[in-house]
Amino acid sequence: MSYVPGQPVTAVVQRVEIHKLRQGENLILGFSIGGGIDQDPAQNPFSEDKTDKGIYVTRVSEGGPAEVAGLQIGDKIMQVNGWDMTMVTHDQARKRLTKRSEEVVRLLVTRQGLQKAVQQSMLA
C-alpha cells in the first residue's frame, strides 16, 4: 500500500455499507478511527507503510453496525460516500463519517491481503 508521490494511488478495495445506529441523540457507527495528514504516521500500528497518513480503523465495537457490515480492525478507509479519505485531517475524517443527515455510509476500504485474495481468485 505504499505509494510514490506524484503517481496515482491504486488499491483493491472492498465496499462496506454501514447503517448507523441511533443511540439517543447520536447516530453511531461503532468503530474508531486513527490517522490523518495532521497526525504522526509513525505511530500507526496498522499501516504497512509508516509514512502513510491515511485513515485507519483502530477498533470495532462488538455487535455494532460496523462489525455487522463487515468492517475489520486495521482497514484503511479510502472513501466515504464518495468523499476521499486519503488526504484529510483527522477531524475532517471524523466529520465526514458522522454527518447527522446521513443514515447510511458507504465506505471503500482496503486491507492487506485483499490484493493477494483478488489475484488468487483470478488464478483459480
Partner: protein
C-alpha cells in the same frame, strides 16, 4: 550661538524654578526639580556616550524629561493665572448648583500595546541586504502625568512593534484623555555620515541602497537646517548634541473612556510622518491595546454601617462596586468571609426612601428594588437614625452618579496588574535570529544543537526529536514526515481565542528569536484542523519552531 542658547536655557530654568517657588506648591516644585536634575544627567550621559544604543536611550530619557518639564510648566502657568484671577475677583461667583457632584477618580491601565507594521516589498528585495533598524518608544500622557514605555528595536523581520510593559495612571477622571505618541529614530547610518564632508556624503548617498540613501539625504538636509531640535520647543529646551540621534514623531492618537474595554481592542493612529522623514516606519495605521479602567467606587467601599434588613435582622452592610454586602458583624467582613447575603446595585436598581407600611411605624427605611427576570425583588433596609439615612442615600446617589459617568467600567471590575518597577535597560544585545546563534563546531555536533535549542526554548526535549532519526539510521529509506505547511499570517488586529486572561493573541516574528517567555502560537493559524468541535490544543505545531517536532499521541476517535 551655542553660548547664547546655553544662557537662554539657564535663564529659562531659573524662571521655572522661581515660578514654582512663588506658588509655594511643594509637590510640584519637588517634581520639577527632580525632572530638571534628570534632564541634566541625561544631557551629560548623552555627551559621554560612545555607542549608538546608549545614545538612543539617553536621548529618549531627555525627551521624556523635557516633555514632563513642559507639562509641569503648563500646570504652573495655569495655577499662576488662577491665583492672579482669584485675587482680583473678590466676590465668590456662583459656580453652579451647590451640590454639584464630581465623579470618583479611577486608575487607568494600558497594556499589551502592539502596533502592526506593513513592510513593502522594496524592503526585502531591492535593499542590497542591509538591515535597517529603528528604535521606537511610546510616550503616554494623561493630564499632567507623562510616562514612557521601554525602547524597542524594530527591523524588517518584525511584523509588529510590541511593548511588553504596561503603564498605570492613577487619579484619572472619567473624562480623561490619554494621548499616545510614537517616537522613532534610526539606529545606524545616520551618524556615520554626519561628520563626512558634504560632497563625499552626497556621493555616498547616491551609491547606497534606495531607502538608506533617501534617509541619509533627508538627515543631511535636516542636520544643516534647524540644528538638532527635539520634539519639544527648540528655544526653551534645546538639546545639546547635534550629531546625536534624533527622535521623530511618527504617529499619535488620543484614547478616552469610549475606548476602555476589558479586552484587546484596535484603535486608529494618526500618522504624522511621511516617507521623506528620516525615521519613517511603514505603520499600518492602527494600534492594538488593552485599556482598562478601575474607578475607585468599584474597588473601595463607598459606605458601611449597621442596617436592619427585613427577614434578616441586624446586619453590617458594606456598599462597594455593584453590590451591597451584608455581614453578620463587622469582624466578618475583615476576615474575608462570605457575606450573609448580597444585594445587587447597578444601573437598573431603583432606590426609594420612606415608609413602606405606615402601620408598622418604621420611619427610617430605604427600599432597594431589582429586576430578576420577570420578578421584582425588593429589600427594605431600616436605618438607625435620620443622619444614617441621609448618609446612605447620599452614598447611593453618588454611586449611581459614578456609574453613569464611568459607564462600561462599572459593569464588572476590570483586572489591573500593578506592573513591577521597570528594570534599567539591559546591555542591548544585537537582536538576531536563531541563525546567528547556530555557530556549531564541529558542524554535525547534535549535542551542541540540542543544547542551544534547550537554552532557548526552556524545558529539554523529553522525547528524541524526529530529525534525530536521520542521524541514528533508524529509518534509512523513509523521508521525514513533512507537516502540512501553515500560512504564518499573524492575526491582523483582531483578537483570537484566549491565550492570556484577557485574550491577547501573540504574534511571532518571521525569523526573529522568541523574546523572554516562550511564545504561545497564534491559535488562528492552526486552521488546518478546521475543528469547531474538537478542542484546538490537540493540533499545536508552532510555525516558527521549525524542526522541533514534539511527539504527540496518535489520535483515535470513535465514530
Amino acid at each position: 550661538m551655542q553660548d547664547r542658547l546655553h544662557i537662554l536655557e539657564d535663564l529659562n530654568m531659573l524662571y521655572i524654578r522661581q515660578m514654582a517657588l512663588s506658588l509655594e506648591d511643594t509637590e510640584l516644585q519637588r517634581k520639577l526639580d527632580h525632572e530638571i536634575r534628570m534632564r541634566e544627567g541625561a544631557c551629560k550621559l548623552l555627551a559621554a556616550c560612545s555607542q549608538r544604543e546608549q545614545a538612543l536611550e539617553a536621548t529618549k530619557s531627555l525627551l521624556v524629561c523635557s516633555s514632563r518639564i513642559l507639562s509641569y510648566m503648563g500646570e504652573l502657568q495655569h495655577r499662576k493665572e488662577a491665583q492672579v484671577l482669584g485675587r482680583t475677583a473678590r466676590r465668590p461667583s456662583d459656580t453652579g448648583p451647590p451640590d454639584e457632584r464630581s465623579p470618583c477618580r479611577g486608575t487607568i491601565c494600558i497594556s499589551d500595546i502592539r502596533i502592526p507594521l506593513m513592510w513593502k516589498d522594496t524592503e526585502y528585495f531591492k535593499n542590497k541586504g542591509d538591515l535597517h533598524r529603528w528604535a521606537v518608544f511610546l510616550l503616554l500622557q494623561l493630564g499632567g502625568n507623562i510616562q514612557d514605555t521601554e525602547m524597542v528595536l524594530v527591523d524588517r523581520t518584525l511584523t509588529d512593534i510590541s511593548f511588553q510593559s504596561s503603564v498605570l495612571f492613577t487619579e484619572a477622571g472619567p473624562d480623561f484623555e490619554l494621548r499616545l505618541e510614537l517616537y522613532g529614530a534610526c539606529v545606524e547610518e545616520e551618524g556615520a555620515l554626519a561628520g563626512a564632508p558634504r560632497r563625499l556624503a552626497s556621493k555616498l548617498s547616491n551609491s547606497l541602497g534606495r531607502s538608506s540613501g533617501r534617509r541619509v539625504r533627508a538627515s543631511l538636509e535636516s542636520a544643516g537646517g534647524s540644528g538638532g531640535s527635539s520634539a519639544a520647543s527648540p528655544i526653551l529646551l534645546p538639546t545639546p548634541a547635534v550629531g546625536g540621534p534624533r527622535y521623530h514623531l511618527l504617529a499619535q492618537t488620543v484614547l478616552t473612556l469610549a475606548s476602555v474595554q476589558d479586552g484587546f481592542r484596535t484603535h486608529d493612529l494618526t500618522l504624522t510622518s511621511n516617507e521623506e522623514s528620516p525615521a519613517w516606519l511603514p505603520l499600518y495605521g492602527s494600534v492594538c491595546c488593552r485599556l482598562a479602567a478601575q474607578p475607585l467606587c468599584m474597588t473601595q467601599p463607598v459606605m458601611s454601617g449597621t442596617l436592619r434588613v427585613q427577614s434578616w435582622g441586624q446586619v453590617h452592610g458594606i456598599l462597594k462596586g455593584t453590590n451591597l454586602f451584608c455581614y453578620r458583624h463587622p469582624g466578618e467582613a475583615n476576615a474575608q468571609e462570605d457575606p450573609l447575603f448580597t444585594i445587587a446595585i447597578n444601573k437598573e436598581t431603583r432606590v426609594r426612601a420612606g415608609e413602606r407600611d405606615q402601620t408598622l411605624g418604621a420611619p427610617l427605611t430605604l427600599s432597594i428594588s431589582n429586576q430578576y427576570g420577570g420578578d421584582e425583588v425588593t429589600h427594605t433596609l431600616q436605618m438607625e437614625s435620620r443622619g444614617a439615612l441621609q448618609r446612605w442615600m447620599e452614598a447611593l446617589w453618588q454611586l449611581f452618579f459614578d456609574m453613569s459617568q464611568w459607564k462600561q467600567c462599572c459593569d464588572e471590575l476590570m483586572k489591573i496588574e500593578v506592573p513591577p518597577p521597570r528594570k534599567p535597560p539591559p546591555a542591548l544585545a544585537k537582536q538576531g535570529s536563531l541563525y546567528h546563534e547556530m555557530a556549531i563546531e564541529p558542524l554535525d555536533d547534535i549535542a551542541a544543537v540540542t543544547d542551544i535549542l534547550a537554552k532557548r526554548e526552556g524545558p529539554p526535549l523529553d522525547v528524541p526529536p524526529h530529525w534525530l532519526a536521520l542521524f541514528t539510521e533508524k529509518l534509512p529509506t523513509s523521508k521525514l514526515p513533512i507537516h502540512a505547511p501553515r500560512s504564518p499570517s499573524p492575526p491582523r488586529a483582531c483578537p483570537g481565542p484566549r491565550a492570556t486572561p484577557w485574550g491577547r493573541p501573540r504574534t511571532l516574528s518571521l525569523d526573529a528569536a522568541p523574546r523572554g517567555r516562550p511564545p504561545l502560537p497564534p491559535r488562528s493559524s492552526s486552521s488546518s484542523s478546521s475543528g469547531s468541535g474538537s478542542p484546538a490544543p490537540r493540533q499545536r505545531s508552532p510555525p516558527a519552531q521549525g524542526f522541533r517536532a514534539k511527539a504527540r499521541p496518535w489520535l483515535q476517535s470513535p465514530v
